[in-house]
């Protein structure tokens, strides 16, 4: 197992390379996911507020 982590003496290069790849990919994924989620929450709240403020204007055609 230690031999595996030693990477034939290149551990100081192989593991950081994999770590940077994982961090950058996780970073863009999490940022994109959060941005979408935040906007969906805001849109839902706004649509609900509009429906409550003017119930007579809400009609079945809009889905």
């Amino acid at each position: 197992m230690n031999e595996f982590f030693a990477m034939g003496g290149y551990a100081a290069y192989v593991w950081p390379a994999l770590a940077v790849t994982a961090m950058v990919m996780a970073g863009i994924y999490i940022q994109s996911h959060r941005a979408l989620h935040a906007r969906e929450v805001e849109l839902d709240a706004l649509q609900q507020a509009r429906a409550e403020a003017e119930p007579e204007e809400s009609h079945g055609a809009e889905t």
């Binding site: 034939g8 003496g9 290069y13 994924y29 996911h33």
Partner: protein, 245 residues
């Protein structure tokens, strides 16, 4: 042809289809990267010259391919946005840019970490490395330009033109290792006469590249959905303000 084109360019339809594709693309990404990493770290042999440092290749090369693939995608989407003014084309190009910048950053950093033990230096100002650094700045320039205008349509147009002009860099990167002397090794997979790399390394490399591609699809869907929801949000906010006034 053009009717099929229009069918997919409809934002409402995109929202329906992408909701189905998104979970699939995430699961396929997880499976491909798990299998690819297992083969890359445990099954593929150490290189006879480079030892275990060659394992950096399994993230470096797919990331570099994606850097070019995503830029090409962005340039095509920008052309479609300029010529046919499809509502989704600019959203696709704009959503691609940060993902492409991330892949380019990964290619640059992992390449540096591979270059230090193999070439004895973190960086050289040769054609391949410099042209990839230019690609990174093109991505950043595109993002900055697209968001620099108060009028979103103007920013979209300026950024689309930058994406098209910058496309000249893509073939320069691809052929830089043949046109100029460089420390960087020449292509060993996508070249005339077929790959010159052994299957035990080629298979994990291709699996990782496919995993990175489905990852790109998943993140692009997230970013395009966020842009469409954001547009809906703005329309609604303006309608509320007008009604209130």
């Amino acid at each position: 042809m053009s009717s099929a084109f229009h069918r997919f360019a409809n934002p409402a339809r995109f929202m329906r289809y992408s909701a189905v594709i998104l979970p699939w693309s995430l699961w396929i990404t997880a499976a491909l990267i798990a299998v690819g990493l297992y083969l890359a770290l445990f099954v593929a042999p150490a290189d006879y010259q480079q030892g275990d440092s060659v394992r950096i290749m399994f993230v470096h090369v797919p990331a570099a391919w994606m850097a070019l693939f995503v830029y090409t995608n962005m340039a095509v989407a920008s052309a479609v946005a300029l010529i046919w003014r499809h509502p989704l084309a600019h959203i696709a190009a704009h959503g691609s840019a940060p993902i492409g910048a991330c892949f380019t950053l990964i290619a640059l950093v992992t390449g540096s970490l591979w270059g230090k033990p193999m070439w004895g230096t973190w960086w050289v100002w040769d054609a391949r490395l410099t042209s990839v650094l230019v690609l990174f700045f093109l991505y950043l320039g595109y993002i900055a330009l697209a968001d620099a205008f108060d009028d979103g349509a103007k920013g979209a147009k300026a950024a689309a033109i930058l994406a098209l002009v910058g496309f000249v860099n893509v073939p320069i990167i691809k052929f830089s290792v043949e046109w100029w002397n460089t420390l960087h090794q020449p292509a060993s997979v996508i070249k005339m006469g077929g790959p010159s790399i052994h299957a035990s390394m080629l298979v994990p490399l291709v699996i990782m590249a496919l995993g990175f591609t489905t990852f790109f699809v998943a993140v692009l869907i997230l970013r395009m959905r966020a842009a469409i929801v954001g547009a809906k949000l703005r329309t609604l906010q303006i309608a509320l303000i007008e009604r209130g006034a």
